[in-house]
């Protein structure tokens, strides 16, 4: 079972839900939580455990071999990302535009662009308790592409955790490539929002994205009680399942600010997580 926690708007509670839900589910299930917000992973602030694995991760980038190049121009012609330019007798590769598609390298008539590893970040695995594992990938400062590291982290999870483990993915905010990469292969997506005009605006964008991907999804409303009823009206109108509502509560904010989990201290939050658990285990209807 693979579940992604996403949101259109940032700061609506993805990490709060992901960390609390993973700990709550681990009371009865094997769970792995992967923080795939690789540009700024922060689930680790709330889940403390023993570091069991630390791996440097690399992506493959073509490296120009000046000595063998015949200046055919094929590389710059086939690159869909404009990551290669030809400046007179010199080929220049722009690593931040390269999508590691290998086209230039494979099609070069003189094999002058061998793919070479370039460091992009670090993957860490922590044991939180007997049932809960936490995996965090963190992009190096200066790296611009989140997707390759997200892909490798997904592969790591697939390789190391079998189907008896519930796999939770804490997504980056927004609705662009990194979010697509996180959500495209999961069984269900939980969209968390806040009941404000900004929350609704960005919720609509991510709902439309999930429909395009034909995902089964439901909505959790966080900080319920602020703002207005427009998010609820929208979900009702669109036939979208509102899975749970987490109240706007100063006590919750204080626990969060201290880096604490909430569900074990605020019974109402545990009740809402129980609803989320029911959604996860319900038969998918598809949207």
């Amino acid at each position: 079972m693979k579940i992604a926690i996403a949101s259109g708007k940032g700061g609506t509670g993805k990490t709060t839900l992901a960390t609390n839900l993973s700990a709550f589910l681990s009371e009865s299930e094997k769970v792995v939580l992967a923080d795939l917000d690789v540009e700024e992973p922060n689930s680790g602030l709330f889940l403390k455990g023993d570091l069991v694995l630390e791996e440097v991760r690399y992506k493959m980038i073509p490296k120009w071999n000046e000595d063998t190049c015949t200046l055919s121009g094929k590389c710059r012609e086939v690159c869909n990302f404009n990551a290669i330019v030809q400046l007179g007798p010199r080929i220049l590769v722009l690593p931040e535009l390269c999508h590691s598609c290998y086209a230039c390298s494979e099609l070069c008539p003189s094999s002058s662009l061998p793919m070479t590893p370039q460091r992009m970040g670090v993957l860490k695995e922590y044991k939180i308790n007997d049932n809960l594992t936490f995996v965090e990938s963190r992009l190096d400062i200066g790296q611009e592409q989140a997707v390759p590291l997200i892909m490798q982290t997904n592969d790591f999870i697939d390789l190391n955790f079998d189907n008896t483990t519930i796999k939770l993915f804490d997504s980056p905010p927004g609705a662009s490539c990194p979010v697509i990469e996180v959500t495209k292969d999961v069984d269900k997506v939980i969209l968390i929002t806040e009941p404000t005009p900004f929350g609704l605006h960005d919720l609509i964008i991510i709902v439309e994205t999930m429909r395009e991907l034909k995902k089964d999804f439901g909505v959790v409303i966080n900080r319920y009680g602020v703002g207005n009823d427009d998010v609820i009206d929208y979900c009702n109108r669109e036939g979208i399942d509102i899975i749970a509502k987490i109240s706007n509560d100063r006590h919750i904010a204080e626990l969060y600010s201290g880096g604490d989990l909430i569900y074990d201290k605020v019974p109402a939050v545990r009740d809402e997580l129980e609803r989320v658990k029911s959604y996860i285990f319900s038969e998918g209807e598809g949207m």
Binding site: F81, N82, L87, L94, L97
Partner: protein, 112 residues
């Protein structure tokens, strides 16, 4: 001296295009022959990635002495252009091409 302008049209009275990578046209002026020719760059709209490097490649192939533009190139374009001899002047994004040329001649544009 050959000068390239980023522009929204093909005439001296056309507005400058403040963008470098996604400029609609490149106008090339040769002050020896007084010729103004244009290169249609509007295909760049189809590029999701690397507009700056693609236009930089075009600029390299045009091989001018001076580039006059608005905002200046982004990081990727910059890393290409610094390997060429072209001198870059910015701050002409709100002018017409003619005004930008006059401003350049009168040393009113900041060098990038």
């Amino acid at each position: 001296m050959r000068i390239v302008f980023t522009a929204k049209g093909t005439e001296w009275d056309s507005d400058m295009d403040p963008r470098f990578g996604r400029t609609q046209y490149l106008l090339i002026y040769d002050d020896k022959t007084d010729d103004l020719v244009s290169f249609d760059n509007r295909e760049i709209d189809k590029e999701a990635h690397g507009a700056g490097t693609k236009t930089s490649q075009r600029l390299f192939d045009l091989n001018p002495d001076v580039l006059i533009t608005g905002n200046g190139p982004g990081g990727n374009a910059q890393s290409i252009l610094e390997r060429t001899k072209v001198e870059i002047y910015t701050g002409a994004g709100e002018m017409t091409v003619r005004e930008a040329y006059e401003a350049f001649k009168n040393s009113k544009l900041p060098k990038y």
